[in-house]
Every structure is written in structure tokens, then in C-alpha cells.
């Protein structure tokens, strides 16, 4: 059985439907990229998957031993507070809060250290979160998500605002987690280039909705239209942004 199945899901907030008729499924070990224009409902879909808001219709079924609160989450960078006084270890540890005890156990601390080791950030353990660079901060937050789950990671635009080198590193890390540790990845991305490089499945949401494997997407009408737009855009070598 698939880990996550969405059937005719309708997402929206404050009574407004943002996107309806979303159906897809995620199997263990998949690497799903959710693409689409700004305002197409990607973030709303993500919040619904994380149970931060209720679906307005349709249903989400969790299976294959996955519970709704076992999705690790890497928020968009802009939502993290910049002036927060906290060491990176404190932040990673807070990923362990899913269970109901008051204090952290020895195994919680070990888990946090293991996650930091895997992402090569142990050296920053006692440093302040706000002193780190953007890429390092993302890795700290990813380690926190790993403390919360070993099953599914949901990444919301994980590379926005990072320079090309750090972006490539970030994608490598995520690919390793997917391949080596068999963690299911759901990634929201602006950047179709990278989405197509690593993903196994694509969910395109917009006025039309497409779900399928990467190859199916590339051969579909909507995929061709979207990627040809991409080809027509010249990509600036310095900043990695598209220039019309």
C-alpha cells in the first residue's frame, strides 16, 4: 500500500477553494516533486498534507505504517526567525517532540547527534543558529526533520535563496537521504531543471493537474508546454534565475 494517497483532494483556506481535484499517491522511497506557478496552491497543498489545515474535500489516506504526524518538514527559509537565540543542538533536539514525555531522553540526544553527523553539522552544535549561513541553517532544520521521522520528508522550496554551489550540495544531501536511507521525499520546487534531474514522480498543479512518473510528465502535453517555456528562458549564469 502507498504511504500517502490523496483522492480528489480540495485544498483552500478561509472557505476559499485554491485548487481542487488533486489526486496522487506516494510510495515508500519515491522522490516526488510538486511543481507549478506561484499561487497555484503548492503551499496550501503542503499545509494540508502536514495537517496544518483541514482538507476542504476529498481525502488523504496514510498507509504503509505511516502516521499523519510522521512527516518531517523543512519550512521555507523566510518563515524561520532570524534573531532567535538558540544553539543548533537545541533546535535539532526539538525535532524529537512528537512523543509525549516532558524531557528529552538519552536516546533523543543521541538521535539528534546522529542526524547532525549525517548532515555534517556536528561542528556547529554549540553555535548560535543565527550565525550560520543560509545553507548551513537549512541543514540544521533538515536534521531536526530527521529527528522527527525516518519515513517521509516534505521540503518546501529547500534551495530558495541559496547560491548555486550550496544549492547543488543541498540536492546531493536530499538525494542521499532518498537513495541510501530510503526516505520518501516530497519536494516543492520552483526550479523545474532540478526537479527533473532528481525526481522519480512529478505532480504539476495549476489550471491543469498532472501526476505521473518523470518520463510520463516529459512526454505529456502539459509537461512539454511547461518545459518548453523553460527552454525558452535564458538562465542567468551568475544568479541562476531566469531572464525573460
Amino acid at each position: 500500500m502507498a504511504q500517502i494517497i490523496c483522492k480528489n483532494l480540495i485544498v483552500g483556506y478561509e472557505g476559499q477553494v485554491v485548487r481542487d481535484n488533486i489526486s496522487f499517491s506516494v510510495e515508500k522511497g519515491d522522490y516526488l516533486c510538486i511543481v507549478g506557478e506561484n499561487g497555484s496552491g503548492k503551499s496550501t497543498l503542503m499545509k494540508t498534507l502536514l495537517s496544518l489545515q483541514k482538507p476542504m474535500g476529498g481525502e488523504i489516506v496514510f498507509g504503509d505504517g505511516l502516521n499523519a504526524n510522521e512527516i518531517g518538514y523543512l519550512p521555507q527559509q523566510s518563515t524561520v526567525k532570524r534573531d532567535f537565540p538558540a544553539t543548533n543542538f537545541e533546535i535539532v533536539l526539538s525535532g524529537n517532540l512528537g512523543h509525549k514525555s516532558f524531557f528529552y531522553s538519552v536516546s533523543d540526544k543521541k538521535r539528534a547527534l546522529d542526524a547532525m553527523q549525517r548532515l555534517h553539522i556536528v561542528e556547529f552544535k554549540d553555535r548560535c543558529f543565527r550565525e550560520l549561513s543560509g545553507g548551513q541553517q537549512q541543514r540544521v532544520l533538515l536534521a531536526r526533520a530527521l529527528c522527527a521521522t525516518e519515513k517521509v520528508l516534505l521540503l518546501d522550496e529547500p534551495v530558495s535563496g541559496l547560491d548555486p554551489k550550496v544549492t547543488a550540495e543541498m540536492y546531493e544531501i536530499v538525494r542521499d537521504l532518498n537513495k541510501k536511507d530510503n526516505i520518501t521525499i516530497i519536494m516543492i520546487s520552483h526550479d523545474l531543471n532540478d526537479a527533473l534531474k532528481y525526481a522519480t514522480h512529478i505532480l504539476h498543479i495549476g489550471s491543469e493537474i498532472f501526476f505521473g512518473t518523470k518520463d510520463e510528465y516529459l512526454n505529456s502535453e502539459i509537461g512539454m508546454k511547461f518545459t518548453s517555456e523553460l527552454r525558452n528562458n535564458i538562465i542567468c549564469e551568475n544568479c541562476g534565475k531566469k531572464v525573460r
Binding site: 502516521n67 504526524n69 537565540p85 526539538s94 517532540l97 516532558f102 531536526r144
Partner: protein
């Protein structure tokens, strides 16, 4: 000077003031860190005005034991501001500002219209600036304040990890199954309790100072959340203690003296932070 202090400390009301002052300073600084980081610095101001309104209403009906009413009203207002924030149209700072000015205005209006006292502006001044109220605490109030403060400290320690996670990233906590609404509710109740307690010490206008200054000061010095929380508790207790002693010796109003000391401490932390720590 020490003899003068010894003389003063023979009076029970001075000892009471010291006990309540230190406990209230401790509690308010604990939650202060969370409030400042969650961008709710002004909530102390808003809620203490609500407490002022409740106090005014209690005075009209001449209830001498006004603590339960004030507590209930303030807790209600705290829940409205902190927990409804996500859903209602009035968001964060606007809701606080509205509740703050409305209750201040109504409180003064009621006091003016219905009060039997001959010195209304004196009464208002006392509730707003807490000039003498800490020195007129009854044994009953001291016991109640002490019990409430101890409960607040115990709850804070038990839920410390959850409070950290909630302050840092509410959405993440919610996604991994922490009951965020419940903890927000609990935090709102605790804050209301602290504000009502703090009003006895520094009066309603200066309550914010007691909540935000220790956190703002120590955030300049430390990099870990735990260090900020612990040091702001220590700093707050020190400032309150020194403030009360100074006000006894110099005959100045307790509330403003404590806030004055807090400001000096803040300035010192800024300088030390710039010179030594360089954050």
C-alpha cells in the same frame, strides 16, 4: 544604611513586598523570552489594562477581594488575543492595541463616574503605576501570589521543551503532532496570571517592562535559549530585589524604581554585548 534596611525589614509588609517582588519578577522574566520572540512584547501592556478595567469594576461594587475577578477577566482577554489570533480578522498587534486602549478608557471612565473615593486621580495613579500597592499586600494576597508564582515556575520547567519548540517554529511542532493549540492556551493563561501578579508590584503601566526587559537584556549576551531563559530569570530577580531596596531607602515609588534599574541593566548588557560577545 544596613541598619536602616534591618529596621525596615522588621516590618512584615516590607518582607512581603520582597517575597512577592522576587517571585513575580522570576515568573514574568521566564515567559518574557517567549513573548518577545513571538512578537508579543506589547501583550503585557494590553492585558494589564484589561486588569485595570476589572479592578475599576471591582472598586465600583466595593469588592475588597478583587483578585478572582481580575484573574478571570484577564485570562479571558489573554485567550482572545493569543488563541483567536490565527482565525479572527483582527490580527496580533491590532487586537492588542484595541483591547488595551478600550479597557484603559473604560476603566478610567467607570472610576470617574461611580467611584466614591474623594481622590480619583490618586486612585488611578496608584493602579497604573503601583506606587504603594505592593506595600499594602495582605497576608492572604501574599500567600495567593506565592502559590501562583510557584505553580507558574513548575509548569514552565515541565513544559520547557515544548515552549521552546513552539516559540521557535509553531508549524513544525504542529506537523509532528504537538498539540499546539493546547499549549498556546496554557501559555495565554499563565501570562494572564503573571500580569495580574505583576500589577501588584509595578502597576499596570509598567508591567510590560517587567516582562520584556530581562529577556531583551540577556538576548544581547547569550546564544542559547536555555542560557537566555536562566540568565533573564536571575537578572530579573536581581533587578527587582535591588529596586525594592533602593525604593525603600530613597523613598521612591517601587514600580518605577524597579523599571529604572531594569533600564540600567539593559544598557549594561548592550555595552557588554557589543564589546565582549559581539553578536
Amino acid at each position: 544604611m544596613i541598619e536602616t534596611l534591618q529596621m525596615y525589614f522588621q516590618y512584615p509588609f516590607v518582607r512581603y513586598a520582597m517575597i512577592v517582588g522576587v517571585l513575580v519578577a522570576l515568573c514574568s522574566s521566564l515567559l518574557g523570552v517567549t513573548l518577545v520572540l513571538k512578537r508579543f512584547s506589547f501583550i503585557g501592556d494590553g492585558l494589564s489594562h484589561v486588569a485595570f478595567l476589572a479592578m475599576a469594576v471591582a472598586a465600583i461594587f466595593q469588592w475588597t477581594n478583587n483578585m478572582p475577578l481580575i484573574l478571570a477577566v484577564t485570562i479571558l482577554a489573554a485567550i482572545v488575543v493569543l488563541c483567536m489570533g490565527e482565525t479572527t480578522l483582527l490580527k496580533g498587534d491590532a487586537a492588542i492595541a484595541m483591547i488595551s486602549v478600550t479597557s484603559l478608557a473604560l476603566g478610567y471612565l467607570f472610576m470617574n463616574m461611580f467611584s466614591s473615593s474623594s481622590n480619583i486621580s490618586g486612585d488611578v495613579c496608584t493602579t497604573l503605576f503601583g506606587s504603594t500597592s505592593i506595600l499594602t499586600l495582605s497576608t492572604q494576597q501574599v500567600i495567593l501570589s506565592s502559590i501562583l508564582s510557584i505553580i507558574v515556575v513548575i509548569i514552565y520547567i515541565l513544559f520547557y521543551n515544548k515552549i521552546f519548540a513552539l516559540t521557535f517554529d509553531e508549524d513544525f511542532s504542529r506537523a509532528i503532532g504537538v498539540n499546539v493549540s493546547f499549549y498556546n492556551f496554557a501559555i495565554a493563561v499563565i501570562i494572564a496570571v503573571i500580569i495580574v501578579l505583576a500589577m501588584n508590584l509595578v502597576g499596570s503601566l509598567l508591567t510590560s517592562a517587567l516582562i520584556i526587559f530581562p529577556a531583551l537584556s540577556t538576548m544581547r549576551l547569550y546564544k542559547s535559549f536555555k542560557a537566555v531563559v536562566i540568565s533573564s530569570a536571575v537578572l530579573s530577580v536581581l533587578c527587582a530585589g535591588i529596586g525594592i531596596i533602593v525604593s525603600i531607602l530613597a523613598g521612591t515609588p517601587v514600580g518605577s524604581t524597579i523599571v529604572g534599574i531594569e533600564i540600567i541593566a539593559y544598557a549594561m548588557c548592550v555595552i557588554v554585548g557589543k564589546v565582549v560577545v559581539k553578536i
